[in-house]
């Protein structure tokens, strides 16, 4: 059984940009430990000589002609923006003031 630690769960949450409460962290620790324990069975199979399948379609890099066509325009693109300033998405400050 692969028990995850609280620290591991907190680390993964940080990578995934999720703020978890203590209760959530403990809940996910238990859930993920049980799911990962189940998933461990994959390692029973020797796959050292098996190539990976990344996708199943028979084709790749399908390109169409590079022809200009109508697109949404700035108002269409920004219509759902939670905060907008002129033709830009507005977000909280990234850099500290000097």
């Amino acid at each position: 059984m692969s028990e995850l630690t609280t620290e591991q769960v907190a680390h993964v949450a940080k990578l995934a940009r999720l703020d978890l409460s203590e209760t959530e962290t403990e809940g996910f620790r238990k859930d993920l430990s049980s799911i990962v324990g189940y998933i461990e069975r994959l390692r029973q199979v020797d796959t050292s000589q098996v190539p990976a399948t990344l996708g199943v379609q028979p084709h790749s890099n399908v390109l169409r002609e590079d022809v200009a066509r109508a697109s949404l325009g700035a108002d269409g693109v920004l219509a759902n923006a939670p905060h907008r300033e002129s033709n830009a998405f507005q977000i909280p400050r990234i850099l500290e003031e000097a």
Partner: protein, 446 residues
Amino acid sequence: MSLSERDRDLHAFLYFSGEAALGSGPLQGLTVALKDNLCVKDWPTTAGSRILENFLPPYTATVVERLRAAGARLLGKTNMDEFAMGSSTENSAYGVTRNPWDRERVPGGSSGGSAAAVAAGLCDLALGSDTGGSIRQPAAFCGITGLKPTYGRVSRYGLIAYGSSLDQIGPLAYTAEDCARLLQVIAGPDPLDSTCFQEECPDFSAQMKVECRGLRLGWDPLLVKDLPVEMRKAFEAGLQVYLELGATLVEVSLPHLEYSLPAYYLIATAEASSNLARYDGVRYGHRAQGAKDVSSMMSKTRSEGFGAEVKRRIMLGTYALSSGYYDAYYAQAQKMRTLLRQDFEEVFGQVDAFALPTTPAPAFKIGEKSADPLAMYLSDVYTVVANLTGLPALSHPGGFVEGLPVGFQLMAPAWQEGRLLQMAHHFQQRTSFHEKRPQGARPAEV
């Protein structure tokens, strides 16, 4: 009675469009419901998530454009597990949908609203999406027919992504014949989706009519030996119907099928963790208030906007892709995908189609599995392999167990949707399971 009144105790719909038919063509006079992860310009499109509560897509999915052009009347959007992550529709942020056959039970998921709407006669046809069984499992639980096409058969332009190497859009209807009509309209090349197969589709309705005599149908006795006896009997009775239709039954073996579920839950969640990174509160959807900097704005937004199962899957996928675990989990799952494809190459060297149950049990009770994520995942044991291999798969009504409908599932080689429809259609010529209706269901009003 209006559609919304008729839907009140089922809650299959999230949005009623009130739209009239806009075009004329092969779907004229038919009503269609759309799963709420399909974008329609200016229609609320939530994918069952709070994070998209006020989202109005600025464009329309290709499949929806094609339905309108074919004369279908689009009734609205149907309920689903948040971002299609679930097997019961209980993970919707907008409430549960009830199974028309038993209001205490789930309709399946994640396309539970679409399946329930068809089963209750609220619409003629519906679209769902299927990443690990999300069309076939609710079709089975609701006593209707559902088809996951071959990966690449149907354009996904305008489908909100979950697992991009697995997702396909497909039809739900009572009969295989109606699924064929709907598939014909939505399938085929689309310059807006580079994963879409470039070749034109065959005439599915013509393929459907070909006799089943002489077809070789494979099945693996090991897959059903541990099923509850009533489920196994229903499956074996289904095999018997195909025998009577002139098919030959062939025992085959899929040695790696038992590994499909763990492989699926690694690949799907890894892809989901990447796909759902776009919900960061910057460009659309919910944004948390009061955050001091952009990084805390993003994590606060995601924590407020996502439900528990979506967070769980993002966590699992992020873990599987993280440094030190990638080779042990994600890479191993991709190799298992190769072994599963090889299993099916072997099988389809011997037979024309492969039969298996759609689910290990009929619809479960609302709340029964919601506290145990792993138990919920295990209900997808027979469906995820079609997504991992990209193969087409169909679930058709296969009888009743404890008064509840169960599905019979068929898989075929890539691009052979016509063979699945052919088999299901002839099955339905000989049986009446697809003619049974839950109490209170009526024909859809046009």
